[in-house]
């Protein structure tokens, strides 16, 4: 759960139709963003519902850096007002996320950044972004050998030689 701190109204400007939220990153950067933009995040929406119940305004502390948070905000801004099936809590889950050209360009980042974004998206419960990131990671390793996959994602081979090479029909499921 995030830490929630009370904030003075003067910290968070905006009382109009598009309310503003204060998001605080792990590197203590304060980022003001319109609530509409972040409504794609189920996590943020739930927080906002909580604020309304208590009639208090809060800043939302998030456990990732401002660099990552800004990327997520960029994504949410791009799709502001768009309906994406994956983010509809009332819709049946789609079989798989569709390929969106903009997402592919947006996620053309290095491996570590991609992993940070997907974790942030998962934390914020933005299913469409999680799906697009997962697809991007899958694209990164598709068609690669196990050795190449380890290299790409920085994973060690922790199998014993027997586990790695000896076929067995043991069902471990």
């Amino acid at each position: 759960m995030p830490t929630i701190v009370s904030v003075d109204d003067s910290t968070v400007p905006g009382e109009g139709s598009s309310r503003l939220l204060l998001l605080v990153s792990s590197d203590n950067k304060h980022i003001v963003v319109e609530e509409d933009i972040m409504s794609r995040s189920r996590f943020i929406s739930k927080q906002v519902e909580g604020f309304e119940a208590t009639s208090q305004r809060h800043a939302i502390l998030l456990p990732f850096s401002s660099f990552v948070l800004n990327k997520v905000i960029e994504y949410c801004s791009h799709y502001r007002g768009y309906y994406l099936l994956e983010d509809d809590p009332d819709a049946a889950p789609p079989g798989r996320s569709p390929v969106r050209e903009w997402d592919q360009e947006f996620l053309d980042v290095d491996r570590n950044m991609l992993l940070r974004i997907i974790k942030a998206a998962h934390y914020l419960e933005i299913k469409s972004l999680v799906g697009s990131c997962a697809r991007a990671i899958a694209d990164m390793i598709r068609g690669k050998t196990t050795e190449e996959m380890r290299e790409i994602l920085g994973v060690e081979n922790d199998f014993t030689p027997e586990e790695e090479h000896s076929p067995s029909s043991k069902c471990t499921g």
Partner: protein
């Protein structure tokens, strides 16, 4: 993992020292553990040597386990390790869905390609094993029975997707399928292809079991067998799923019939029934019954019926008293009807197709009577009249003497967009709506004896509303010209609003002649004025000017120049001339540039493909060469007619499955 200890910087010296200390520590520990063996040598007695070896083997195994533990611990520090298991499973799921990375690998092996992730590390393997749905998809992509059983076991009780092709070895295939059909209660997606005899046995044995989660059912009788005249098609049993398949949404039957009971059809969103042209029609519904079934399918999005209507009923249907009109649901995005002209035209007359649906009609005239081709046209014209926009683009493919293909769009299509989605027979098999660029109407006429497709085209253009067509695409035969001067002036000349003409292959020469030599219409319908008075843009593609268009004595430039010089003084506004992949030289282009404001040339002087061509460009050349060309990006370059190739990277996939 390796430490870079190669340079002499302070940090690497320190790292080397650290490694040395660690090694000394482990070696010291090891020494103490095997101290008791220091007096044992090769000269010792056999029992002592045996015991020493056993002890050392234990230590080796322990060290391996220790190394593994260190590696596992190190992996926990990897960023990817911190991904929640459900996300890792989602990544694997994408891999499982979208293998292979390349097109030209055999189906079965490629489907198991994702299994490599289970050999990356323990964590990944465990995540895969903890997600039964990963194992439940494409369960039968192999005919290895033990592999399929293992997949079923790992899938636990998750829903299954089964795609099985009959292998030549029934001894293997039948038991495999029987194993799979024991799980009918959790099959979600079932696609079965096989020979009539074996399929019939399977269907009788297993298809009366309830299938409460079945969403998609595809049954195909192998085409090779069904080509025999009046060959019986496979029939689903009358007690299909004991009437218990409430989630059935997609039904695809190829050379297979079903009990035509309303409960099967009511909830369908996708219905596709294809019967081979010469197969037996036993078990097919009457046209009236089929119409009554369509009446209850209120969720339908995709409808394809090929040779479903009995041909012999064609004449009697016209006597039918049925006058009920069925309105297909507004959800329908694809309507595909094919078969003999007479019964299918009768059928179309009794349907109202929603305006936004893409319509694909393929009609065959079994006799030389050209009129049967056109029985459907009035219905089609009425349907087109419901569109919000008139037809703006038309393509005519007249390359064969036995068919004519006409496609139409309600917007002005550019040449490139036309080529992007052009295919003789589009693959309208997906559930999803056709892409926006796909033609809103496709009509294919077939006949069994050679006849002039220009006559058929002429009658079609007289019936359909084509007055506002602005873009015309014409494909002519690479071997002989169908589109003569008379065809251009009398038939295509009817399209008076055309501003852009794209000519493929060898219609070009007669097109140019027609531009300046209009012949009075014999039908008297057209004024003897210049063809396409608003013409602004000409594109020529795959035109072998040297071989077909001009006499050997006349140069390309001189020939075209002569035409353009006669045409342009009339100032009909030709603005752009595009020439692609045609046999023409730079000197010719320079002469043309003197006459037309803009000449675009791709610089190619040959109609043959080059290494830099994209797949689409090569596919475009398919018809020029008369056979398929495929690019094998492993090492071979362009190949002719080779579709599937096995590659070494998939060797051993089956072995990788068992761990």
């Amino acid at each position: 993992m390796s430490l870079n200890l190669g340079s002499g910087s302070a940090s690497t010296v320190a790292a080397r020292e650290e490694v040395s200390q660690s090694a000394n520590s482990w070696l010291s520990l090891l020494s103490s553990k095997i101290e008791e063996l220091q007096n044992i040598s090769a000269a010792s007695d056999a029992a002592a040597i045996h015991e020493a070896r056993r002890k050392l083997d234990c230590e080796l195994e322990g060290l391996i386990q220790t190394v593994r533990a260190v590696r596992m611990r190190r992996n926990t520090l990897s960023p990817v390790h911190r991904l929640p298991p459900e996300i890792l499973a989602m990544i694997f799921s994408f891999l499982a869905d979208e293998y292979p990375p390349r097109r030209f690998v055999s189906y079965g092996l490629s489907k198991l390609g994702w299994i490599t992730v289970t050999h990356v590390c323990h964590h990944w393997r465990q995540v895969a094993l903890d997600n039964p749905s990963l194992w439940g998809r494409d369960v039968c992509s192999h005919t290895n029975c033990s592999l399929v059983e293992e997949r079923l076991a790992r899938s636990k009780q998750s829903l299954l997707s089964i795609g099985s092709f009959y292998s030549a070895d029934a001894v293997e295939w039948m038991p495999l399928m029987r194993t799979v059909f024991e799980e009918m209660h959790r099959i979600q997606d079932l696609s079965l292809t096989g020979e009539q005899e074996y399929l019939t046995n399977l269907l009788i044995e297993h298809f009366s079991k309830p299938a409460p989660f079945l969403h998609t059912l595809r049954v195909t009788t192998s085409w090779g067998y069904i080509q025999t005249p009046l060959a019986p098609v496979v029939s689903l049993p009358t007690n299909l799923f004991s009437g218990n398949a409430p989630r059935l949404r997609e039904l695809v039957l190829v050379n297979c019939t079903t009990p035509w009971q309303p409960w099967i059809f009511t909830n369908l969103v996708h219905l596709e029934v294809t019967i081979a042209e010469y197969a037996s029609r036993r078990g097919l519904p009457t046209p009236e019954h089929l119409l009554s079934l369509l009446d209850v399918m209120t969720y339908l999005k995709f409808l394809k019926l090929v040779n479903v209507l009995p041909a012999e009923d064609g004449a009697s249907l016209e006597e039918s008293s049925m006058d009920h009109i069925i309105t297909l649901p507004s959800t329908l995005h694809t309507f595909h009807l094919a078969g003999e002209a007479r019964p299918n035209s009768w059928f179309m007359q009794r349907l109202v197709i929603p305006p936004l649906a893409h319509v694909y009609i393929e009609l065959t005239s079994p006799d030389p009577d050209v009129e049967t081709c056109h029985l459907s046209l009035p219905s089609l014209a009425r349907h087109i009249a419901t569109y919000a926009e008139p037809l703006k683009s038309i393509s005519v493919d007249g390359r064969g003497s036995f068919f004519l293909i006409l496609k139409a769009w309600t917007f002005v299509l550019a040449d490139k967009e036309f080529r992007d989605q052009d295919a003789i027979f589009p693959a309208l098999v997906e559930s999803s709506p056709p892409p926006d660029q796909d033609p809103i109407v496709t009509i294919v006429f077939r006949w069994q004896s050679q006849k002039s497709n220009i006559d058929v085209l002429s009658q079609t253009l007289q019936t359909l509303p084509v007055d506002e067509v602005q873009a015309l695409f014409v494909k002519d035969s690479p071997h002989e010209t169908q589109f003569t001067v008379a065809a251009w002036t009398n038939t295509l000349g009817r399209l008076r609003a055309v501003r852009s003409v794209s000519v493929h292959d060898n219609g070009a020469w007669d097109f140019f002649k027609a531009l300046i030599l209009p012949e009075p219409s014999q039908s008297g319908l057209l004024d003897p004025k210049l063809l396409f008075p608003d013409l602004r843009h000409i594109t020529m593609r795959h035109v072998n000017f040297r071989a077909y268009v001009y006499d050997a004595q006349v140069s390309v430039a001189d020939g075209m120049q002569g035409v353009l010089m006669q045409r342009l003084p009339e100032n009909y506004g030709l603005e752009l001339l595009e020439i692609h992949r045609s046999r023409i030289e730079m000197e010719d282009i320079k002469k043309l540039e003197e006459l037309v404001p803009f000449v675009e040339w791709d610089g190619e002087s040959s109609v043959f493909p080059s290494e830099t061509d994209t797949d689409d460009e090569v596919a475009d050349l398919h018809d020029v060469f008369g056979h398929d060309l495929f690019y094998d990006d492993f090492d071979d370059g362009w190949n002719e007619g080779v579709f599937f190739e096995d590659h070494d990277e998939y060797d051993g996939m089956e072995e990788m499955f068992f761990f």
